[in-house]
Amino acid sequence: MKASSARYLVGQGMKSIWRNRMMSFASFCIILVSLLMVGMSVLVTINLNRIISGIEDQSEAAVTIKDDIGEDRQKALQKEIEALSNVATVEFYSKDEAWKNMKKDMSDEQQDLFRYADDNPLPDTFRVTVKDISLMADTSVQIELLDDVDSVKSPTQFADVLVSIKNILMIIMTCVIAALIVVCLIIISNTTRASVFARRKEINIMKYVGATNTFIRIPFFIEGMVVGIFAAGAALLLTKFAYEGVYNIFKNDMSLWSILGIDNLYPFAKMFVKVTASYIIAGAVIGALGTSISASKHLKV
C-alpha cells in the first residue's frame, strides 16, 4: 500500500469521528464508563486487599515462656522462633511491662483488689507476628514444640475470620469485576454495532465499487482506536479525582485512620503509570476491535 493511501485511510478514520460525532460520542461515553467501572473496582480490590493484609500484619500470637530461663536462653529462644519459616517478627514483652499494662486497664475496684498482691503473677512473653495468617495455627504448634515454651495463645479464631472475610471479599470482587467486564463488553459491542449499523449502506456501497474488506475496515479500526484512547484519557482524569477524593476522606477522618491505617491505601501517584498504561491499551484495543468487528458484519456483500 502506498503512503498516500495509508494517509488517506487514517484521515478517513479521523474524519469519520467528527462526521459521525453522535455515534462517536456514544462510543466514547460507553468506553469511558466501562473503563471507569472496571478500573475503579480493581483499584478498590487492590486497596481492600492491602488493608486486610495490614490488619493481618498487626495480629500477633502471644508465646508464654517458662519462668527464669535466663537472658541468654531467652535470646536463643527468640532466634529459634525467628528461624521458623512463617514467622515475620518476634518481640519480647517482659512480665513487668505486662503487669503495668494490665493494671492500667483495670477498673478501680479491681486495682483495689490487687493492692495487696506484692508479687507479679504474669509470665514473660514473646509477641510473634506471622507472614501468612492462614498458617497461624501450624506456626503456633511449631512454636509450642520448642524447648522452654510454656504455651502459645494465637488468635486463630480471629485469623480464621480474617482469612474467610478476605476470601469472600476477593471472591465477591472477582465476580463483580468479571461481571462488569462482561457487561462492558456487551454494552460496547452493542454500541459499536449500532454505530456501524447506521453506516451499513455506506459499507455496502464501498464493497460494490470494489473495495477490499481491509480497505473498508482500516478507517473503522482507526476511528475506534482514537475514540477509545480519548475515552481512556477522560477515564484516567475521572479516576484520579475520584480516587484522591476517597483517599482524602480516609486521610482526614481520624477515627477511620486509626482502624484501617492510611498507610494501607496506595496513593494514586504510585499507581499512575500502571493505571495509565492499562486504560490507554484497554481503550484503544476495545475501541478498535469493537468497531472493526462490528463493521465486518456488513462486509459480506
Binding site: M1, S4, S16, K207, Y208, V209, G210
Partner: protein, 230 residues
C-alpha cells in the same frame, strides 16, 4: 466479456426474475437492454456484479466464473466493472469529488493521478461546480451524473449503466449516451439499461429486450442519427 449460460434467478420471495437466459456480450460491444418494469433488467446487472448469485446456470464476467469465485476475489471482479446503479448508491458522507475518487483510492492509484483524473471525469458529466457538494445537496439528475462519473473514473473494461438517464432531461441524455459511445469506441464494453426508446431509436446498435425474465429480442438495428448524418 459477459456470458450467461442458462441462467435463472429465483428470489427468496419466490419471484422468478430470470428464466434460462443465454446471452453473450463480447469485449468492445455496446448493447442497450430494454424491457418493461420488473422484467429482470436490474437482476441481470446484479448478477454481473455478483451482488446476487444465479440460482441456476453459469455467469462469466471478464474471465471470472462467478459461481466459483471466492469471496476474497469479488473486489478484483468489481474493479473491472464500472456501474451506474439505478438507485445511484452514492456514499452520503462523502463529497462528489470523494465519491468519485474513492474508486481510484481502492485500487491504490497514485495521488497525483487521482488529482488530475477525478476533476476531468467530473467535468465530463458537467458537474465542475458541484465537486464539493454532498449527494444530499444535489438534484436527482446531478446525483445520477455523479454515479456515471464514478463508473467511468477507473477506465473499467466493462461499464454497466442501469437507467443512467432516468432523471436527466433529453438534451443531456443524448450527450451522456454520446459520451458512453465514445468510451465504447476506445474499447470499453458498455451495457446500458434504459426505457427511453427515443434514445435507443436514435443511436441504434444491439438491442436486448427482456420480457418477464426471458430474452424476447436480441438484434442489431440501425440508429436514426447515422441516417440523418449527425
Amino acid at each position: 466479456m459477459v456470458e450467461f449460460k442458462d441462467v435463472s434467478v429465483t428470489y427468496s420471495s419466490g419471484v422468478d426474475a430470470l428464466n434460462k437466459v443465454n446471452l453473450k456480450i463480447k469485449d468492445g460491444d455496446f448493447a442497450f437492454v430494454v424491457g418493461s418494469s420488473g422484467a429482470g433488467k436490474s437482476t441481470l446487472i446484479k448478477l454481473i456484479l455478483k451482488e446476487i448469485d444465479a440460482t441456476e446456470g453459469t455467469v462469466m464476467v471478464n474471465g471470472f466464473n462467478l459461481s466459483k469465485l471466492r469471496r476474497g476475489k469479488v473486489p478484483a471482479l468489481r474493479r473491472t466493472i464500472g456501474v451506474v446503479f439505478q438507485d445511484f448508491r452514492l456514499i452520503p458522507t462523502m463529497t462528489v469529488y470523494e465519491n468519485v475518487a474513492f474508486v481510484l483510492r481502492v485500487i491504490d492509484a497514485p495521488a497525483k493521478y487521482i488529482r488530475s483524473r477525478v476533476p476531468y471525469v467530473i467535468s465530463l458529466v458537467g458537474l465542475e461546480d458541484k465537486a464539493k457538494s454532498y449527494p444530499t445537496e444535489l438534484s436527482g439528475g446531478e446525483q445520477q451524473r455523479v454515479a456515471l462519473a464514478r463508473a467511468l473514473v477507473n477506465d473499467p473494461k466493462l461499464i454497466i449503466a442501469d437507467e443512467p438517464t432516468g432523471n436527466i432531461d433529453p438534451a443531456l441524455s443524448y450527450e451522456i449516451v454520446d459520451l458512453l459511445r465514445s468510451i465504447n469506441e476506445c474499447g470499453t464494453t458498455v451495457l446500458m439499461v434504459t426505457h427511453e426508446h427515443d434514445l435507443v431509436r436514435y443511436f441504434g446498435g444491439r438491442i436486448i429486450n427482456i420480457n418477464k425474465g426471458v430474452i424476447a429480442f436480441d438484434e442489431v438495428i440501425g440508429g436514426t442519427n447515422r441516417n440523418e448524418g449527425k
